[in-house]
Symmetry: C2
Subunit: 303 residues, 2 copies
Amino acid sequence: MQQMRQGGPPPSPSCSSTSDCFPLSPLNTAAAAAAACGSETSDEPQKHEPTLLSRMRSIVIFYLCYLLCLCLSVACVVCVCVWNSRWRGGFAWDGSALQFNWHPVLMVTGLVVLYGNAAVLYRIPLTWGHNKLPWKLLHAAVMLLALILSIVGLCAVFDFHNAKSTPNLYSLHSWIGIAATALFAMQWVVGMGGFLLPCSPMYLRKLLKPVHVWMGIGILLLSIAACISGINEKLFFVLKGNSGGVQPYSALPPEALLGNSLGVLIFAFGLVVLKILSNYEWQRPDSRPEDMAYTPVLQEENE
Amino acid sequence: MQQMRQGGPPPSPSCSSTSDCFPLSPLNTAAAAAAACGSETSDEPQKHEPTLLSRMRSIVIFYLCYLLCLCLSVACVVCVCVWNSRWRGGFAWDGSALQFNWHPVLMVTGLVVLYGNAAVLYRIPLTWGHNKLPWKLLHAAVMLLALILSIVGLCAVFDFHNAKSTPNLYSLHSWIGIAATALFAMQWVVGMGGFLLPCSPMYLRKLLKPVHVWMGIGILLLSIAACISGINEKLFFVLKGNSGGVQPYSALPPEALLGNSLGVLIFAFGLVVLKILSNYEWQRPDSRPEDMAYTPVLQEENE
């Protein structure tokens, strides 16, 4: 899930390499970039300074968005953990409601927060001057961790349902959630084979890239829809107001406010990730469609 | 909500005008475009044919996506109408459950289907050769219709709740849904003032455009999340299996299958709309960031 835009026009001819175009990359300094950018084709030197300024501004805005993304990540994980430990009684693995509590925690942490952060990894300008291979491996590793947490999160709810003889996979929430996890598993295996194995041919990478990108975005949107419908469903289940001391959902007790706020935070996180992924200027330069050689990673990355 | 990509590189220098770049536009024929595209800067005439072919392919793929978008639109509206008329008893405006039935029908039709179709209006290549003003007016008119249907849909559920003395706006579904409608109303008013009034200055349009685009995408995603959580909630409410002859949701009776399928169709529709909006090649050429003069519409459009 490295880029969102496909089939765009070629890049500006004014910057010939990563270090020319991205002054905050470790390959270069801002002063050197100021001299290099635009010097090849432009005959209007007075225009260089605004170009550099706009690039610097773009990078500053990126880091603000990325900071927001990290803050929302922490807020989502803290919220879902506090909700399930403080209001839902904590955690266990015994088929009880305490085992169910792992489900929201692991799905939000894995399928949303880790997944979203792994997706935007290539966008961090400080990584652009480095060999791409370690970042590809980190992307694959964080995605694998996200996938494992999601699968354990599904096991938690299946065990809980089975212990209560409740059927699985009947609600729209479960359909959306299982589709997200199944597509994620498929995406990881195909991504691993297609983009990390040295034997993967160029034409296959070229064919896979747009599918990988769009499947990645689709999975993120499925995850967010599953989380929002799941939180809504859970709050209606547990806040019925018919047992002593429990206020109904409609009275908006503190637990309902926390759950609703978690949903809002998850949505905001998804929107920030989508914003980071869709901005062409924030793509790693050698991952842009017009720059990709599509040679096997283990050959191209270590040159 | 005319485009998704912002801040990209300048366009390829090989096509100097709309009619050069888009051979299926009424301004031009494929043969004329074949001669025109790339002729200004390229000194390799043998490369012209593949460029034209790739543009033709892009337009064919657009129309396939657009056809899918239209089919999903019809399927969503048919599904939600059949669900509420066949399984939920039909429609009325008397504070009863029959009044509530207007809510899903109007929200899906207005906030999802009409909204999504109005958003992709500018992408239809057959409109590119025409004056943009009528399409802007159509975009604004369909969005207004979508907004009115959404507001009436909200009135339906508020009336129903008030008649039963049920509180409003406490669930996560309602928070997401009201945020979508409120932002939509704000977006329409600001869009009308910013892009359709002749007195709106250039700098304001330039400032508004990326906000309009991102707010538009955010509203679509909010609408889809609201629909999926709402369908899920409604099916749990009505399919409890405790009244004679009604199977529980967990037994997946035909109504549950239809409701779940409606959720899947709405998600698929949203993904297709997002795909159409995010492809740079499918943007109306004079709406692309690098081509926009940002002069007041009523002046620029009628030149």
